[in-house]
Amino acid sequence: MIIKLERLKIQSRRSEEAINITALVEEAIAQSGVQNGLVHVMTTHTSSGLVVTEGIPCLEQDILTHLARLFPESENYHHRRYLDYDGRLGFNADAHLKSVVGGISCSFPIENGKMVRGSRQTIYFMEYDGPLERTCLIQILGE
């Protein structure tokens, strides 16, 4: 049984952004040597997310647009206060809620050293409060 954990650094460049990381996950699988098993990907942040959808720009835009419609920045959030444990103001509740609803992780099987996914399935790192350097975990388990 092989268990490998990779910490992937992602530099987002905009406030909100969908970043295709499918190739990076595939590369991590190839380098792990695992032939059959499972890959689990998750963001370590609560104002970003991971989603799987068809890899086309119109859908990237739709996801961001409609999450923004669900959680407008102007909404009256309890999070808008000084967070004494953090030394900062918490006014990015909209980003946190997008992360909650959009999800923070995904998993795919690995077969014969390749990630098994639908032909249109694409893994996106979702930035909801950038630009920031973010960390994504890729854990690969198998043999």
Binding site: Q11, Y77, R80, R81, G87, R88, F91, P131
Partner: protein
């Protein structure tokens, strides 16, 4: 656009080079966010539409056992990007402070002075600070002081009261004082100083609760009337975000949401800062011809 108030406290390159910087960020400046590469800082400026930003260190080793960024570190960061404007900090509580400031400006080519009476634990209106103000006046640089509430643990609120500065403002009439954070909650006191003394400027980096938009709406339309900003103080306010306590983009958006004319916004976001940075009291005072 120019952001007149940013801190280098989360820049990873500084931690990599100086391990004590992490303690300065976490325990003295008191911020818990992840360290980020300088690239993130510049990208944060990009998304906010900010072209240049003033980087502020705090020389608080005497009071806090560690500096929150040194002048040399600021110089190194500024060397990595022409978009960064480095200010110096010296400790008014040590006798070498005037000479330290002269070296920082003449040798290191920093462009202004940052003081934080709360973090540095000195009386901003007392004689110990006068020698530093005198040196700054001679060097023709602006001095930006933390005024208003300080979140720094162990700091006294009274250190940030803007009226403590009045005697210095009067004594050093050719030195431009920038009162950070609009001196919140002592906003009217800060405004009165700016109305009475042409060498007083205020920066917008005030945010203590709610969202930037809500807080700006409260301070600039209810705590004081917006007409005071537009008609009386437009030449004496500079935009400051206080990044990374708050993202620059949110503060720019909050400012732009206020019912101010484009002309006034342009002064706050650019022109007033340019005048302050133009090295000299006369340059900063040139707005007086507007009247």
């Amino acid at each position: 656009m120019i952001d007149f108030h940013t801190h280098p406290v989360l820049i990873r390159e500084l931690v990599a080079q100086d391990p004590s910087f992490e303690r300065a960020a976490r325990e003295v400046f008191y911020i818990g966010n992840n360290f980020q590469p300088l690239e993130t800082f510049l990208l944060q400026m990009d998304v906010a539409g900010i072209e240049r930003a003033v980087l502020l260190p705090v020389a608080c080793r005497r009071a806090r056992q560690v500096d929150v960024g040194t002048n040399e570190q600021i110089v190194e960061l500024c060397a990595k990007s022409p978009r960064l404007i480095g200010f110096a900090s010296v400790d008014p509580g040590v006798k070498t402070a005037p000479a330290d400031l002269e070296r920082a400006i003449r040798t290191l080519h920093l462009e202004g002075l940052k003081l934080d009476p709360a973090l540095q634990d000195f009386d901003s209106g007392g004689p110990e600070a006068w020698a530093v103000y005198e040196a700054a006046e001679a060097l023709k640089i602006p001095v930006l002081l933390h005024t208003g509430l300080s979140w720094a643990p162990g700091s006294a609120l009274e250190r940030g009261h803007p009226l403590r500065l009045e005697s210095a403002i009067r004594r050093y009439a050719r030195l431009n004082f920038v009162l950070a954070h609009f001196a919140w909650p002592w906003v009217w006191e800060a405004v009165a100083l700016a109305m009475k003394y042409p060498n007083v400027f205020l920066d917008t980096s005030c945010l203590y609760y709610d969202s930037p938009k809500e807080f700006f709406e409260f301070v600039f339309t209810r705590q004081i009337p917006i007409t005071l900003v537009e008609r009386t103080l437009a030449n004496q306010i500079v935009f400051g975000s206080n990044y990374p306590r708050v993202e620059i983009k949110n503060m720019v958006r909050a400012l732009r949401a206020l019912p101010l004319t484009e002309g006034c916004l342009n002064k706050i976001l650019r022109e007033n800062a340019e005048r302050l940075l133009a090295r000299g009291h006369e340059a900063a005072m040139s707005h007086r011809h507007d009247y």
